[in-house]
């Protein structure tokens, strides 16, 4: 589905990502986790074509990512960032419909899809005319998710989607996300700092450190067969807080 071959990223003299091969499997939820600055967002940004790899190539559904097809590929991806990344000058509804309108989709079809997504994300439709600044953090995140899902992309890329939320909202959104991922059977690549969230949402976990993939597997596998000391260290550091 998503395939990185010998991909690396350097910023002048800083290596954000060492040469990496990576395959993300179809229809599953894969979670990227690791300490701050280890290169998680870098991977996601390269997949969306926001930054170019220094070396290597990226394929999505066997299509090589290039300048020519990047717009098409982006339209098959849903990208969600912390706090939703909503545009302040547009209402929630107009944020969600921005791309569909640009592509001149049928209005009644759009309306139906909007209602469907409101149900799916538990967003109250009478808040649709609100501007981002009039919404709570959780609501903004739901709107961001609806915008990413609107054109029904095969792949969802989420960069710490729940990072800015307080624990109660966060946990209820985690449950909703899990439901959505299961129902829609999308290929999901999600970044989080939180091991519990990773364990709860992810079919598979990729643990990174200093621009390198350290180990890949379920939480169980990571616990029972750590590939190096850092894995155990990382798991223990988080246990106290979130289990």
């Amino acid at each position: 589905m998503i395939k990185l071959t010998k991909v690396s990223k350097k910023y002048s003299n800083l290596v954000a990502l060492e040469t990496t091969d990576l395959e993300i499997s179809r229809g599953k939820t894969t979670v990227l986790i690791g300490p701050s600055g280890c290169g998680k967002s870098t991977i996601l940004r390269m997949i969306v074509g926001l930054i170019e790899p220094t070396t290597g190539v990226i394929e999505i559904d066997s299509q090589l990512l290039s300048k020519e097809n990047i717009l098409d590929i982006r339209r098959q991806l849903g990208y969600v960032i912390q706090d939703g990344g909503l545009f302040p000058h547009l209402t929630a509804k107009n944020n969600i419909l921005l791309m569909a309108r640009h592509l001149r989709k049928n209005i009644s079809v759009m309306q139906e899809r909007l209602e469907e997504l409101c149900k799916l994300t538990h967003f109250s439709p009478d808040r649709l005319e609100c501007y981002p600044l009039e919404l709570s953090g959780g609501q903004r995140q739901r709107v961001g998710l609806m915008r990413a899902l609107f054109l029904d992309p095969e792949i969802l890329l989420l960069d710490e989607p729940l990072g800015a939320l307080e624990p109660l909202v966060r946990s209820s959104l985690q449950q909703e996300l899990k439901q959505i991922f299961q129902d829609l059977k999308k290929t999901v690549l999600l970044i989080t700092h939180d091991l519990a969230e990773a364990a709860y949402l992810g079919d598979e976990i990729i643990l990174m450190n200093f621009g390198k993939v350290v180990q890949r597997g379920t939480v169980d596998e990571l616990q029972k067969q750590p590939s190096e000391a850092f894995v155990t260290q990382f798991l223990n550091a988080q246990r106290g807080f979130s289990l």
């Binding site: 940004r45 969306v48 074509g49 926001l50 717009l71 098409d72 590929i73 982006r74 339209r75 991806l77 990208y79 960032i81 912390q82 706090d83 990344g85 909503l86 545009f87 302040p88 000058h89 547009l90 209402t91 921005l98 791309m99 640009h102 501007y131 981002p132 600044l133 009039e134 915008r147």
Partner: protein, 482 residues
């Protein structure tokens, strides 16, 4: 956009068969032009008076390029400032003007030059008529301006030329000299031969009988390709105004603060054609002209400034070049910018609009660039990740997000523009600067206020209009944060 510019450039070209009279910004020039205007109107010719142009160079440029058909001037000015020649005869000047497509009438009947003035009652008592008559009255007290006393073609050569040796000579301020001569502290002073003050203080000019002073005979310049009928009419003004009459006309203009009244005095029917329009009508007319200048130049400035601002929002050499350019334009004094543009574009509203637009550029460019640069990088990434084309991102996301800052820049420009546009009068583009310039010339605060007050009110209204636009145009979501 390009068509809009072309349209704007074509707009102010003169209507065919309408004749344009130009005048410089001093009383006598205004009055002579008004007289010519009325003469032409009485002959059934359509005329426009572009008044108070900013000086000899600007008016000459206008004559040369055909933007103006007629203007009053002086043989001395033509010789020294325009042609820079030694020729003194009218025929000689005429021959040198012809290659520029410009003709020259005979003298209107007076010579506006340096002269010596004395009190009328004393002149009559002593029988003083000419400078030579002073020889038998060398005891008279002389008061001179510092300039005339010191100039190499001033008092020294003058007394030698006439063989004078006046006993008491002192230098004093010109403004004080009039008081002094009235009070009898001095008896003889230097003055311009058609200065309105000569009439006000009841002085007479001594005839320059040995021709010491260079001649500044008043004449009309005209385009050789102007309406022949109009040229004939202008030529009927020849030899109809002597120094004394001109002094009276100047006095009338300064007293009444009204050139039309002064021109009417020439036709010696004071009542028949009083100032053709009421003050309010004139103010309305100037205001409309002013608004046109502001609106047209703002349209151009926004049309150019927005794209430049977008280009400047990206880091790099181009951005630096754009900022330097619009910054430098801003530092050129407005009069100098007008003077620079006149040789390129002639004198017209078009030039004024270009100058005003250039002046309005910087705030628009700077705010557009700043508004775009202020967009947080996570929102930029969100916009790109949607799969929108660059142009759509700019139009649907970036520009709307920066719209408030951009509008604030346009507002700053517009408010400054309303003030700067008063300078347009100096190149004959009209507007509320017209009463300000003529009021300054006449030294009459009332006339200045006729332009200054409406301009101030306009500036306030423009502020208010932009407050309103902010409410109407700026998406509510952007206003929530402040």
């Amino acid at each position: 956009m390009r068509y809009l510019l072309i349209l704007l450039l074509l707009l102010p070209t003169k209507v065919f068969s309408q004749q344009v009279i130009g005048s410089k910004k001093f009383t006598e020039s205004y009055v002579l032009a008004e007289i010519a205007k009325r003469k032409l109107e009485e002959a059934g010719i359509k005329v426009e008076h572009r008044q108070g142009l900013g000086g000899t160079t600007i008016l000459w440029e206008a004559m040369r390029t055909g933007a103006v058909d007629f203007c009053p001037d002086y043989t001395g000015t033509i010789r020294e400032a325009i042609l820079q020649t030694k020729t003194t005869s009218l025929e000689g000047l005429r021959a040198e003007l012809a290659p520029f497509g410009v003709g020259l009438t005979e003298s209107l009947g007076f010579n506006n030059t340096y002269a010596l003035a004395v009190r009328r009652e004393m002149a009559e008592k002593l029988g003083l008529k000419k400078v030579s008559d002073l020889k038998v009255h060398q005891d008279l007290k002389v008061g001179l301006t510092h300039e005339f006393q010191q100039r190499s073609d001033g008092w020294g050569p003058f007394t030698k030329h006439y063989g004078l040796n006046m006993e008491q000579v002192k230098a004093l301020e010109h403004a004080l000299a009039y008081q002094a001569i009235r009070g009898g502290q001095i008896d003889v002073m230097d003055a311009y031969s058609t200065d309105a003050k000569l009439a006000e203080y009841d002085l007479v000019v001594l005839q320059d009988d040995l021709n010491f002073f260079p001649r500044y005979d008043a004449v009309f310049l005209y385009r050789l390709d102007a309406d022949p009928k109009a040229i004939e009419v202008i030529k009927t003004l020849v030899n109809t105004i002597d120094e004394e009459k001109m002094v009276k006309l100047n006095l009338e203009a300064e007293k009444k603060a009204d050139y039309v009244a002064a021109a009417n005095l020439y036709f010696s029917n004071l009542s028949s054609q009083k100032s053709s329009q009421s003050v309010w009508q004139k103010i309305l007319y100037w205001t409309i002209e002013h608004l046109f200048l502001v609106a047209a130049s703002m349209l151009v400035a926004v049309g150019i400034g927005l794209p430049l601002g977008v280009a400047a929002s990206r880091q790099g050499l181009l951005s630096q070049a754009i900022f330097s350019f619009s910054g430098i334009v801003q530092t050129i004094p407005s009069l100098a910018l007008l003077a620079l543009l006149v040789p390129l574009l002639g004198i017209s509203q078009k030039t004024a609009i270009v100058a005003l637009a250039l002046y309005s550029l910087l705030p628009i460019v700077r705010n557009t660039a700043a508004g775009l640069q202020d967009i947080p990088s996570n929102l930029r990434e969100s916009a790109q990740a949607l799969g929108l084309e660059q142009q759509a991102i700019l139009l649907k996301v970036y520009l709307p997000m920066a719209s408030r800052t951009i509008l604030a820049g346009i507002k700053t420009s517009a408010v400054i523009n309303v003030g700067t546009a008063t300078l347009a009068a100096l190149i004959g583009a009209g507007g509320l600067g017209e009463p300000i310039v003529s009021g300054l010339t006449l030294n009459n605060p009332d006339v200045i206020l006729q332009g200054a007050i409406p301009a101030a009110i306009l500036a306030l209204l423009v502020e208010f209009l932009f407050e309103l636009l902010d409410r109407l145009l700026i998406p509510k979501g952007l206003r929530l944060s402040s």
